[in-house]
Symmetry: C2
Subunit: 330 residues, 2 copies
Amino acid sequence: MAIRSGVSKSTVSRVINGEPRVRAAVAERVRRAVGELGYVPHQAARSLVTRHNDAVAIVVTEPQKRLYSDAYFDCQLRAIRKALAQQGVQPVVLLVDEPTDYPRVVKFLSGGHVDGALVFALQSDDPLPAALEHMGLPVVFGGRTDHPEDRSVFVDADNRGGARLAVRHLVSLGRRRIATITGPLDQTASVARLDGYRDVVPAGPASLIAEGDFTQPGGAQAMAALLDRCPDLDAVFVASDLMAAGALGELTARGLRVPEEVAVVGFDDLPVGESTRPRLTTVHQDIEAMGREMTRLLMKQIHAEGDHDGGDRPAPSVITPMRLVLRESA
Amino acid sequence: MAIRSGVSKSTVSRVINGEPRVRAAVAERVRRAVGELGYVPHQAARSLVTRHNDAVAIVVTEPQKRLYSDAYFDCQLRAIRKALAQQGVQPVVLLVDEPTDYPRVVKFLSGGHVDGALVFALQSDDPLPAALEHMGLPVVFGGRTDHPEDRSVFVDADNRGGARLAVRHLVSLGRRRIATITGPLDQTASVARLDGYRDVVPAGPASLIAEGDFTQPGGAQAMAALLDRCPDLDAVFVASDLMAAGALGELTARGLRVPEEVAVVGFDDLPVGESTRPRLTTVHQDIEAMGREMTRLLMKQIHAEGDHDGGDRPAPSVITPMRLVLRESA
DNA sequence: ATGAAAGCGCTAACAG
DNA sequence: CTGTTAGCGCTTTCAT
């Protein structure tokens, strides 16, 4: 301990924690000693008594598809990190892709290393939500889980409503044979967007639905399949901008005019939609706002925890609204 | 504590830590109690005495350019995580892009949250290496820092040697006007590759050198600039496969035949190089091996720390060898 | 305004 | 084999 270089122990603690009632001269002396000794307080010891460590986990499952190729997620992650940083909280990212990662991550999460967690587990059968359910750690999910009845907190885009917006727009344009390219249907967001499509086109035959994988080539491929099955389709709602870009390419390659012959609406409103030809009409979601909202809900939980744990209100989850962005493709 | 449901305290500890000398019956009883109570040991308290927390940080600076668009880094990160997981160590990723992130990350790192850190700080003027220098935390750098004289441990590709390999190959093909497209020259790796080029083409005029940004469009743009300045160039060494793909596109767009009129050699050996037309001749680096090597060196440091800190040998850094992969582009 | 003492939840020596 | 005793490094009453 840095007693040797100043007065004594608990005063050092006070100085470091910036408590007011310390004489300026003493505080200065301590600070100098700390600087010379290169002393850094041991966070584990501190958090043992303060019960918090000013760090929260960002848990990402299936990173190979998300973290590295997904401009969407990139943006969201950045917003979250910024919001956390502003509160002086250190975000630590936990990646999980192999099944063997789960127990280790759960152990880490329940080990008291972090004050809370922001979890992105989009596979609808992901075991993580259930595992976190009863371990008492404040958690906010990004995207809805498969258990809407539980009291878990989540922030989700209004995927279903956004899809309806897109398809209704297509209908209002007079399109009659509206197809859709979905995301992987093991993800809740993909299913919700498909549900929105079905809300508007309830009688649509299965041949007008193709499952994509949220990648650009995947979008092109799905578009090709759709065109082979239903050469007379006159519109397509694509569940992501990246896939829409691929679909646009396939359409153009086949000599089909967009939007004259086939109208296209995407989803996400990523930069890619502005550089396609024609530029993409799409459903906008405010990713940054979602990120900020997630942090806000998490911090609220974290702080509420200490005060009184009696007030267990229903989960104050948030569904963010969507908005149609009209450009040239539809 | 879970005494209430079993015998007593330190025995619980023994059971949890899997110590052998505990009667099977008792162990079983404790385990059941633990299960029922949902008890999880508090890691902060544990690490306070054991002096380790079975977690290491992976610090990534400038993530916007690396983490999300870089298949190269993606692959390396995956290899590292796998290697760490095998040792039961939890990797926690710390992202830093804003200057304000530094103090918080340094605080986290020195706060005893992790046993060591793997640091990717490729900007040659990154302040992190210096900050970590004297804080006693075991650290291994990915890529060389700007202080080759210090005793920091790093794992780096033989960028200079690999570049020489590429350019010598071009020379052996009889090429006389060999250009190069570099990466951002504020990164040590880019500079090293340029140095390798210069080793072989010492008299090359500056007009044969164009700086790119490690992206595909950037590669195309640099190629265009090169072609405008030196229409008679007959070969180009491109410092990354992604840029090489862009350069190939530009060459083709201008009607230049590869490799007949202009030979192209890339760097990295990413999958993209196999899908270009013609397929890319490139310099291969074993990314996974580098990842494994980094973890190995880190774990070695971590374990050595406890034993005896007298044996301060010179830094056992590693430079991984490069290998030329011949395909059609040169 | 500052020091002394107690204790956060755990492991590790030491007894038994 | 298992319980007891001491701290790990810090914050926090409680005195002073």
